[in-house]
């Protein structure tokens, strides 16, 4: 009886950690950039519509909203949060390197050792790699939080 009452009180949604909020923020910005890009494509074409990816610059606001500060020191991630963060960063790096190597080898295979590519490909590769890293890291973090601490008392 008493346990039942206790369970009812605690069976509530667990509040998002600051890391999870930051991850959702990153994914929302990525989604916004993607939708803007797709919306502009029919009018501007793919090359000019790629300017919409500049929306990704809003990611720079993430550390301001969700980064460490003196006021938020009590919200620093605990040992589980740090472990999840490290794993998420590793996942981001792993996927980034796989794709980066794949793209480099793919370009080499497609154009040959004497082929030429536009210099514009380099910043696009850097931007794309950064975006991929942030997205994979954010997804990995959310998946881990979801898997490890889904519910309160059940």
């Amino acid at each position: 009886m008493r346990i039942g009452r206790h369970r009812k009180r605690e069976f509530e949604k667990v509040a998002l950690s600051r890391q999870e909020k930051h991850a959702w923020f990153n994914l929302a910005i990525c989604g916004l950039a993607g939708m803007t890009f797709l919306a502009l494509w029919p009018w501007l074409g793919p090359q000019r519509a790629a300017g919409a990816l500049g929306v990704l610059g809003l990611w720079a606001l993430g550390p301001i909203f969700y980064g460490a500060s003196d006021q938020k020191r009590d919200e620093e991630p605990d040992e589980l949060g740090r472990l999840i963060q490290v794993r998420a960063v590793l996942a981001g790096y792993a996927v980034f390197w796989l794709v980066f190597v794949g793209v480099c080898v793919g370009i080499w295979a497609a154009y040959g050792s004497r082929g030429r590519i536009a210099v514009n490909v380099l910043p696009l590769l850097a931007l794309g790699g950064w975006a991929l890293f942030v997205v994979v890291q954010s997804v990995a973090l959310l998946v881990q939080y979801s898997a490890v601490c889904r519910h309160g008392d059940e």
Partner: protein
């Protein structure tokens, strides 16, 4: 190599200590409620420091709160 899983009695001990909530325990030992949830669900193995803090909260030795599966 045999693998050992760390089990714990945190959930039961919370009830036995005045129906302490997960959040109250989390605040006492300085972690998030999510970490307590993960511990109770045996999805996370705590550091020795955290294990000792939790045991200290219940005024019990660590081995009475955490036990390895397959060990007496």
């Amino acid at each position: 190599m045999a693998t050992n899983n760390l089990t714990n009695r945190i959930r039961r001990l919370r009830f036995e200590h005045g129906e302490m909530t997960q959040q109250q325990l989390a605040d006492r030992v300085g972690v998030s409620r999510q970490t307590i949830i993960a511990l109770e669900a045996k999805r996370y193995t705590p550091s020795l420091i955290l294990a000792m803090r939790i045991a200290g909260t219940f005024n019990m030795p660590v081995e009475d709160v955490f036990t390895l599966d397959g060990q007496p």
